[in-house]
Amino acid sequence: MSVILDHLPELWQGLVVTLQLTAASFLGAAVLGVVVTALRVSPVRVLRAIGTAYVETFQNLPLLVLLVLAVFGLPEIGIQADLLVTAIVVIAVYEAAYIGEALRSGVNAVSKGQGEAARAIGLTFTQSLRHVILPQALRTVVQPLGNIFIALTMNTALAGAVGVIDLTAAANRVNLVEAQPIPIFVGAGLAYALLAACAGFVTGRLEKKLVILR
């Protein structure tokens, strides 16, 4: 146990980076995910194709490949960016595909009459999406979104493989110095489990509050 206490500053710093990665990339992924969903349900075929291509591409590429490509490849074409920012953007872009897919299933779950009613009172496509469909779609996918959030938290660890000193990388470094893997890795694992448990708790509460019984 004392190893963890001795290296608390480094591990804490790692946890902070993990939290930054998680929060920032989830925010970005949520925004992008809504855009992708809007594209995928739009009446314009080209926009639908763009949305589908986006989801297909990013769901079928390993996140680590994208991270490696962005972190080592972008400087080669003259784009220099902060490592943490690059990681956040890549994770956001990757997870947006999953959020887009979850949201689309939510949109499909909204009953047909809702869309028809929205049109009947004269709302345009964007208006009906914003005021009628998406609010209901979001409520039905609270649980899947929570699962995506947990998966995203786990995926931020991959940023550690390309040089971001997040919790996993920090634990690894401390272990290389101290060579006491069990307390260090178990401690890091517990921290992740705690994050996931918090996320699960919040989504559980949210779902109870927001769910629409049909």
């Binding site: 080592f72 490849g73 080669e76 909204v110 786990m154 991959l158 996993t168 060579a179 890795f185 992740y192």
Partner: protein
């Protein structure tokens, strides 16, 4: 495609749709042009930098990497599925001693990053005298982590089989074990096949952790290659395309299976 969100377009809507079509196409083209210009400005489009990827030795090397990726994915999938099935059955077992540990395993492993498990196998186990060969250093953590997901898939599949099926099995005098094996599992297996294929895509994606383990699967091979020939961005783009083609085919398979299952279900309900 649901048409819930829009009607048959009238003249004005059709005009707006044409505008949106042009704008969407323009945005895509603009993005592509921007990327190409950025590549060209930094000399990354020179033919000499792409030529090597049209030669057979290069592809032989990459395909060897892909072969190792496939091997690692197949072995971990087999292990994770076997373990996951045991866990899934354990979670549904009426016996506490089986139910509680299985549930605990699934809940805990689901919330630990696969990379952390890789580090444990890479750095923690050797200290306790268990130094696995490289291949297993990748396969073991992947199996451990994906077993939890497979367990949940199997559990959902078993629960989706109507109760009447297992009741009927018990009623004709089969033991609970045989009812599960002969009646419930075959039906559940057919239902979860699409989810299993898409979970396997996730597993195949995770084999890229070989990058960390330095097991020569596709991504690590490409790292070695890029360090050797200095064609960083080209190598990684080619490798990304290889992953994309393989995984898209698998995802397509999952969708086809799902569509076929739905068709069978529809036929059954209309006949009944």
């Amino acid at each position: 495609m649901s048409t819930m969100l829009f009607d048959e377009p009238g003249p004005r809507a059709r005009r707006r749709m044409r505008v949106a079509t042009v704008l969407g196409a323009l945005a895509t083209v603009a993005l592509a042009v921007l990327a190409v210009r950025q590549f060209a400005a930094n000399g990354q489009l020179d033919a000499a930098r792409w030529q090597p990827y049209a030669t057979w030795p290069m592809w032989r090397y990459l395909l060897t990497g892909l072969g190792s990726t496939a091997l690692a994915a197949v072995v971990s999938a087999a292990l994770a599925m076997a373990f996951g099935l045991a866990l899934g059955l354990g979670r549904l077992s009426p016996r506490r001693w089986a139910r509680v540990p299985a549930a605990g395993y699934v809940e805990v492993v689901r919330t630990v990053p696969a990379l952390l498990l890789v580090y444990v196998v890479l750095f923690a186990l050797p200290r306790y005298g268990l130094d696995l060969p490289l291949f297993w250093k990748l396969v073991v953590p992947l199996s451990v982590s994906h077993a939890a997901s497979f367990a949940e898939i199997f559990r959902a599949g078993i629960l989706s089989v109507e109760r009447g099926q297992s009741e009927a099995g018990l009623a004709v005098g089969l033991t609970p074990g045989r009812t599960m094996r002969l009646i419930v599992l075959p039906q559940a297996a057919r239902r979860v096949l699409p989810s299993i294929v898409s979970q396997s895509v996730g597993l195949l994606k995770d084999t890229s952790l070989g990058f960390v383990v330095s097991y020569t699967e596709l991504l690590y091979s490409s790292k070695v290659l890029a360090n050797y020939n200095g064609l960083l961005i080209q190598t990684y783009i080619v490798v990304a395309l290889v992953y994309l083609v393989v995984n898209m085919s698998l995802s397509k398979l999952a969708r086809t299976l799902e569509a076929r299952r739905r068709a069978v279900l529809r036929r059954r309900t209309t006949r009944a």
